[in-house]
């Protein structure tokens, strides 16, 4: 465990002293980070979790100001920065990343849908005349998208899925270039529909598992989980929901608001009260930012400990996730992922000598999960790798 060794900590302290205040690059290793033209200007803050917080979080205004200060007001810079840096490869008046960020601002649009819409706009504005050219162009665009926000798993998975479709679909083989192009565009447009349909399917599949009188623990805010609970409420099921607060962006508050609107009895817990209330809970329901090849999930910080507590008390942990979140990753442990960091508000000023764990997500290994509800059906964790191998091999 090199990152826990004393020399590593010393190195890091040394590095942090050298860093400028405005851009505290705490990534331990960032080789050639400035080499990419469309590199995220501020890699220390996860764009993905910032967006989530903006959409689903309940944040106070002074916290926002703090976060803004921490980011260094880069949201305005980023756009101009991009266009300037994209200049050497002829700035066509638009960039994938901008397009993606525009789509991403819509709160109801899933991340992968935004990615695929962005890639569709690449096809639309493409000057390519052959399939090969288009493929290369798309590859470039998806690579720049992926490197723009390495922390977003569904962005990566969405890009991979679409690229896989473009390169390997047999249906495109017989057609001439223009109709193939329009078919691709049509599919990309419909992906939003697919995503919505997936949520409906998941909600239908999970209904059997929610029985009258049960208590469900949910963590953070997840659109799929909300859809599941909403469908259950519409089906006149009687159940109770425990919502964790979901620090630091407090996405759990948002979920409890939504559930209260549906007249579902809700109880809010602080994140540390999970073990305390686990004996009352019948099942744990979580969403996922990404489902990895081992069948485990990557989700908002705190999911792992909830799963551990649930396992030790023999409660089932159900994951609701759309299949386009399946990602070709195989994290070996918690630190084996691109760090996704975000600012955390502690309410009081933290002395500079105190280190703060700002990671936004954790990895829950498959042995702690009971079942995954996806639009491909109810799956055990081991099925996930099978699906991924079928697709990408």
């Amino acid at each position: 465990m090199w990152y826990r060794s004393a020399s590593f900590i010393l190195d890091r302290q040394h590095q942090q002293q050298n860093d400028t205040v405005t851009n505290p690059d705490s990534r331990p290793l960032s080789p050639s980070s400035s080499a990419m033209a469309t590199e995220n200007p501020n890699p220390s803050i996860s764009m993905y979790y910032q967006t989530r917080a903006a959409h689903h979080g309940v944040v106070t205004s002074d916290w926002l100001a703090q976060a803004q200060a921490a980011v260094g007001g880069n949201s305005d810079d980023a756009v101009s920065d991009n266009c300037v840096s994209g200049g050497d490869e002829e700035c066509k008046g638009f960039s994938v990343v901008d397009e993606f960020n525009n789509w991403r601002k819509q709160p109801d649009l899933a991340e992968a849908v935004a990615a695929i819409r962005a890639l569709a706009s690449v096809i639309r504005s493409s000057q390519a005349t052959t399939m090969m050219e288009l493929e290369i162009e798309l590859k470039k665009a998806s690579d720049s998208l992926k490197s723009w926000d390495t922390t977003s798993i569904s962005l990566t998975a969405g890009c991979d899925l679409f690229m896989r479709y473009v390169t390997r679909t047999s249906a495109l083989e017989y057609e001439d270039f223009n109709s193939a192009k329009s078919r691709l565009l049509e599919r990309a447009e419909k992906f939003g529909e697919i995503s919505y349909k997936a949520r409906r399917i998941i909600a239908m599949l999970s209904q059997d598992f929610i029985f009258d009188g049960c208590t469900i623990l949910v963590h953070g805010f997840s659109r799929v989980v909300l859809e599941v609970l909403r469908t259950a409420a519409q089906n006149k099921k009687l159940f109770r929901v425990f919502c964790t607060e979901g620090r630091p962006d407090r996405t759990g508050l948002r979920l409890s608001n939504e559930l209260a609107k549906l007249d579902v009895p809700v109880k809010l817990l602080i994140d540390s009260a999970v073990a305390y209330s686990m004996d009352e809970v019948d099942m744990v329901f979580v969403g996922a930012d990404g489902v990895v090849e081992s069948g485990g999930i990557i989700n908002m910080m705190g999911t792992y400990q909830i799963a551990l507590v649930a396992k030790s008390m023999n409660k089932p942990v159900y994951v609701a996730a759309e299949s386009y979140k399946f990602a070709r990753l195989y994290p070996l442990d918690q630190k084996d992922m691109v760090p996704a960091l975000r600012p955390i508000d502690f309410g009081v000023p933290i002395p500079s000598k105190v280190e703060v764990e700002t990671s936004a997500r954790d990895y829950t290994p498959p042995q702690y999960l009971t079942l995954l509800f996806t639009d491909l059906g109810v799956l055990t964790p081991s099925v996930v790798s099978d699906e991924l191998i079928q697709l990408y091999l």
Binding site: Y165, T169, F211, Y324, L376, T380, P381
Partner: protein, 415 residues
Amino acid sequence: MPDVQSMVNEFVIKLKKRKVEGSKSTAKLTAELLRSFISQQRLPHSNQAGALIDAVKAVGEKLIAANPVELAVGNVVRRVLHIIREEDLSLTTAAVGGLSLAAESDDENDTEQDDHPVLSATAVAAAARNALRPPSLQTLLEDIPHSAVAPPTSSSGGDSEGKSKSADKNSMTRKLKHNVIEAVNELIQEISTCHEQIAEQAVEHIHHNEVILTLGSSRTVMEFLCAAKEKKRSFRVFVAEGAPRYQGHAFAKELAGRGLQTTVITDSAVFAMISRVNMVIVGAHAVMANGGVIAPVGLNMVALAAQRHAVPFVVLAGVHKLCPLYPHNPEVLLNELKSPSELLDFGEFSDCLDVGSGTGSPLLHVVNPAFDYVPPNLVNLFITDTGGHNPSYIYRLIADYYSADDLVVRRKSAS
């Protein structure tokens, strides 16, 4: 020839009265009933497969409702539906092949039209193939049009057939039915020979001087053990008696009769004996899609004891016991409460059970559940007709034997 409908009703009543029990006999009877049902079913000229599927579904629904706990009924109905879909597919792909050939021969006359039919024919074939497979990531982006394409598949096939030859169409009607019945026959054959298939693998699992523990009685386990015995393996069998029905007694008697060294123990002695056991081999009532097992009552206890002493827990199950559903609350929903007469003799507790005395409700209750749910993490190996499988692999078998459409539709109509 007896009326099919009355046959169905008769079987439904039998199921309801629990006159037929045991997954194997139920599965076989269901398959035979469906075979005669299909053979007497009149099919319309267009979209025969769809009509046949609807008809079988309607019957299947009745049968499943008659005894929802007997999962083998539903399994066989789904298998038959899958068979119909498969046969229909193989026929349409053959027809489509002929179609595209015809189009190619046409193309000398008329060039601009030929490009389209060839494409659509291959697309239709691809879509039909996709329809059989369970949904996957691969079809995620492709799958929106396939639902739109699927209904025209059969009708367009019918149209073009009608255009070419009406005699051909007639033969195709008969062909589908014939093929389906042939396949259902194979299924029946498979159900009745599953013991032998499983027993063939016995020598791979049972070794010299081993001690095997089993609970209650199971035909499959009996064949399995005897097959190992026939291959000159010498081993000992502990038989837990399997209260309250004590089928273990008869089982032990038969084993001893076949020349196996047998020891009878009480159910409560399982934990005491498990440290001397090399392997637990049991039969199952049903295997769920997550690898969990619905088994005769008492087996969860055995599984827990086996896990405590790291003894392999092996479940023998014919393919007809694979159920494509996921268990939710299986201890209650997939259980059956049997008559208390198995526990108590008549009149033994009559004073406590007397409803008329005092409060009006009896002080003593007798509950006699038939099944246990063994979660997948307690099972080490499943041995089916097709070989040994890990619990996490069961979903794969289910994907092979059932089509995804049938699970959802069935559940929706059942609820």
